[in-house]
Amino acid sequence: MKLKQLEGLVELEQYPTGPHIASRMLFTAENSFGDVSNKVVADFGCGCGTLGAAAALLGAEHVIGIDVDSQALEIASLNAEDLELDIDYIQCDIRNLVWRGQAADTVVMNPPFGTRKKGADMDFLFNALKVASEAVYSLHKTSTRDHVRRAALWDFNASSAEVLCELRYAVPQLYKFHKKKEVDIAVDLWRFVPRK
């Protein structure tokens, strides 16, 4: 089934998470680490809800998608309804999200890469490591690998930060400032473990 996608907003860097990357992230999380089924999974910056839907399909007991954009959440709700999935959504800026302790087991996210707004992906990671008790799965540009590792381990107090694999992320020509038709960028699929 094809999920409805969004006409992105430039300042939010909304690029759709392709089904290949979503299934790669969630299958790895479930099959290699058992971080999805019977868990509480949060999808940070969920957009149209692809990662959260994948988590629910793999047996997550409770999925919460969070996004700042009401239009994205509306589409995410419709997608979940089409798939007959029960997913909660919250409209919130991830930077301002406050949860009672490490309320989620697992956070999955495809954060804005921070190209338009510097550090946006690090804000996401900082908050994800605050609310997750088991693991955080995230995508970051391979060119920022050293920076991401250092920030996670030293600044955000993660107990481990591991690149699971390198993927090609096809960024379609969505915005006017995109000169090329489609650009492949190298991204890392990370697994971070928060300190309890």
Binding site: S70, D88, N96, W99, R100
Partner: protein, 122 residues
């Protein structure tokens, strides 16, 4: 929004120190049936703020949860089914979440709470 989500969520206004739990004002509640998963409920029990759950359930019209609960009750099917119902099957569809410290109101429409802040609250 399930009460499980409510049990995780805190008021996020800058300077607020006691932002949990958010008070609930109800316009509409819906019930959606899901399979009961005893293992999940047992593992969630220690993470739940029980008082907040009881209070939230009551404020949306479900008063079948005991005031106090301890892990030994997780052996009772009757207790599990009430806990399951309150935590996962009741959804606040329309209403308001209210910051317990400041009284700031966060509207809930189509089950989605709007926690966006004004500039002076960040």
């Amino acid at each position: 929004m399930r009460l499980l989500t409510h049990n995780m969520l805190s008021s996020n206004i800058k300077g607020v120190t006691n932002g949990f739990p958010l008070r609930i004002e109800v316009e509409k509640v819906v019930e959606k049936e899901v399979d009961l998963n005893p293992d999940f409920l047992r593992s969630m029990f220690s993470k739940i703020d029980w008082k907040a759950l009881v209070h939230a359930a009551r404020s949306i019209g479900y008063s079948e949860l005991p005031d106090e609960a301890d892990p030994s009750m997780l052996d009772s099917d009757d207790f599990l089914s009430r806990f399951h119902h309150a935590l996962l099957q009741l959804h606040l569809e329309e209403g308001v979440l209210i910051c317990p410290e400041t009284g700031r109101r966060f509207p809930v429409n189509k089950g989605i709470p709007n926690m966006l802040l004004h500039e002076d609250e960040v």
